[in-house]
């Protein structure tokens, strides 16, 4: 089971070995399931490379057949400071 999922336009949005900014969803059970987090992360198509598994989905919701893995480096705040 994946801990997170992410929507992408193409697999090129998930370069291996590079830090990438993503909007990922937390799939943990409970009332906060599907809550988004904006993060800088490392990702890999190897589901064992990083600690957390990640389901990849395309722009219209279709799931990629294989799981990726993800390592979150830090959270990102996207709301401009004057509105926080």
């Amino acid at each position: 089971m994946a801990r997170y999922d992410v929507f992408i336009n193409s697999l090129a949005d998930l370069p291996e070995g590079k830090e990438v900014q993503l909007a990922i969803r937390d799939l943990s059970p409970g009332i906060h399931k599907y809550c988004y987090q904006d993060v800088l992360a490392m990702v890999s198509p190897d589901p064992e490379k990083y600690d957390e598994k990640m389901q990849v989905r395309y722009g219209r919701g279709q799931a990629h057949p294989q799981l990726f893995s993800i390592k979150i480096q830090e959270n990102v705040e996207r709301i401009p400071e004057r509105w926080r």
Binding site: I31, K33, C35, Y36, R57, R60, G61, A63, P80
Partner: protein, 477 residues
């Protein structure tokens, strides 16, 4: 008429249009799947009394997804015909607008629970995961969003979907051609100001109809027209707006002018997930208020028929009817088919002059209603616009493939499934007219084909005799 959704539910139940589900239902797709099947089967609305993880909350699904429920919402006999419902709707909405009244907070059930500041967490509300593969949980699927023009102070209620992004943020498309979108993109964004909003979940049924209707009359007054009395509103807690006092859940906040965040994909009224995930409007939430044991309304968009398709078709068709009659065009009626996901409208007309079908198509496509549909079928005044068989027969036999089909480029919703990505980005919308009237210069006696039907080729006395003897022949009536 019903003061709130709860009274409406009792009327649905009395008419056999409500099923109460007491076993636990999962908000994560199970509730959505129930509502989807209800829409596809035209089944009674499900009231779900026990939602996993959310004690005290309830769901009402598919509240207005067939014409019987619409008739009940209008306070009419559930078995009223579509033309009867349409006539009643037009009669009420041709009356003077009825201004709303403001009630005190202690008279407003939607204030029974008030949550503000750091305590606000959208995940304390049971936003359903409506379809597998959706971009998130959609709290607002059958609702309306209240906004106000900062200069004219005109209020707009519009039905714009909203996805829960995190505990305090919702995202969703607010198109520039929508009522609220025009004010946001035209006034607030250029000024760099955040626009106050209030999302109303579980409004009374006529308020919801007004929120989805393409009317120039402010929706609170339009609802008053439909109700026959003023709507009761109450002031919001954290924004300068008013909301229906008897609604189930209110979400208040500000739409931010200078940031966009991902939203979607979502199963849409066209029956597809058409528009890919994209960055869209950001709603920052400042307060939640709700009734005790609140009922979240769920519309599940997909293949026909859901309430979005039914009511948009109904109200778009009737606004076109009003507009064409005001232009003096001798139409006999307008009917937009919900099964077309409000993309195809049938107009009946007395063909008094050549190119009257083109005049009709250009008028409706050129209006502010035109971006929501792209197919106009014009039939003569002898064709029953509500009879699908007659309309299909007219389309198949009277529309000349070269002379009767006219194509334009216009403005359209990016949700059309057939558009290319480039067309969708620019809101380009191709339009087509199917002129199903015979040319006027054909001699009616010697050139116009004779329609061969029971009603048209037999003398009246023969028809009367056959009808009078129908059961004697051995047929059932």
């Amino acid at each position: 008429m019903y003061k709130d959704n709860r009274e409406f539910m009792k009327a649905l139940e009395a008419a056999g249009e409500l099923v109460t589900i007491d076993q636990e239902v999962d908000w994560d797709m199970e509730a959505g799947a129930i509502v989807r099947k209800v829409c596809e089967d035209k089944a009674p609305s499900p009231l779900m009394n026990k939602i996993k993880d959310y004690p005290g909350h309830r769901y009402l699904g598919a509240p207005l997804a067939n014409y019987r429920k619409l008739a009940i919402a209008m306070g009419m006999d559930p078995d009223s015909s579509i033309p009867e419902i349409a006539a009643e709707y037009l009669e009420r909405t041709n009356r003077e607008p009825v201004k709303p009244v403001i009630v005190e907070k202690d008279q407003a059930p939607c204030k029974e629970n008030i949550i503000t500041g750091d305590d606000v967490d959208l995940f304390t509300l049971p936003a359903p995961m409506v379809h597998e593969g959706d971009g998130g949980r959609y709290l607002a699927t059958w609702h309306f969003v209240v906004t106000k023009d900062p200069d004219k102070q005109e209020v707009n209620w519009g039905m714009y979907r909203q996805m829960v992004y995190n505990s305090k943020i919702m995202t969703g498309p607010l198109f520039p051609f929508s009522g609220g979108g025009q004010v946001f993109h035209g006034k607030y964004v250029p000024r760099g100001e955040a626009m106050p909003f209030a999302t109303v979940i579980g409004p009374d049924p006529l308020g919801a109809i007004a929120g989805s209707a393409p009317t120039a009359i402010p929706e609170p007054e339009y609802t008053g027209q439909l109700l026959g009395k003023p709507v009761e509103l109450v002031k919001c807690e954290t924004v300068d707006l008013e909301v229906p006092a008897n609604a189930e859940i209110i979400i208040e906040g500000y739409i931010l002018p200078d940031v966009s965040i991902e939203e979607g994909p979502f199963g849409e009224y066209t029956g597809y997930r058409t528009s890919p995930r994209d960055t869209r409007t950001v709603y920052q939430v400042t307060a939640i208020t709700h009734r005790n044991d609140p009922i979240t309304t769920i519309s599940n968009m997909g293949v026909p028929t859901d309430e979005g398709q039914l009511l948009r078709s109904f109200t778009l068709g009737l606004e076109m009817d009003r507009m064409l009659r005001n232009q003096g065009i001798p139409i006999t009626g307008v009917y937009m088919l919900p099964e077309s996901t409000h993309h195809l409208v049938v107009v009946g007309v007395k063909p008094l002059y050549t190119n009257i079908a083109a005049q009709i198509a250009q008028t409706v496509f050129g209006s502010s209603l035109g971006m929501w549909f792209h197919m106009v079928v014009v039939v003569d005044d002898k064709t029953d616009i509500y009879n699908f068989n007659e309309v299909l027969h007219a389309l198949s036999t009277r529309c000349h493939p070269v002379n009767g089909i006219h194509v334009w480029q216009g403005v359209g919703t990016p949700l059309y499934p057939f558009l290319s990505a480039a067309e969708r980005k620019k809101s380009v919308g191709p339009k087509v007219l199917f002129d199903c009237t015979f040319p006027l210069d054909w001699d009616p006696l010697s050139e116009v084909p004779r329609l061969v039907s029971f009603k048209t080729v037999y003398p009246q006395e023969i028809q009367d005799k056959v009808l009078a003897n129908w059961e004697k022949y051995g047929f059932t009536k």
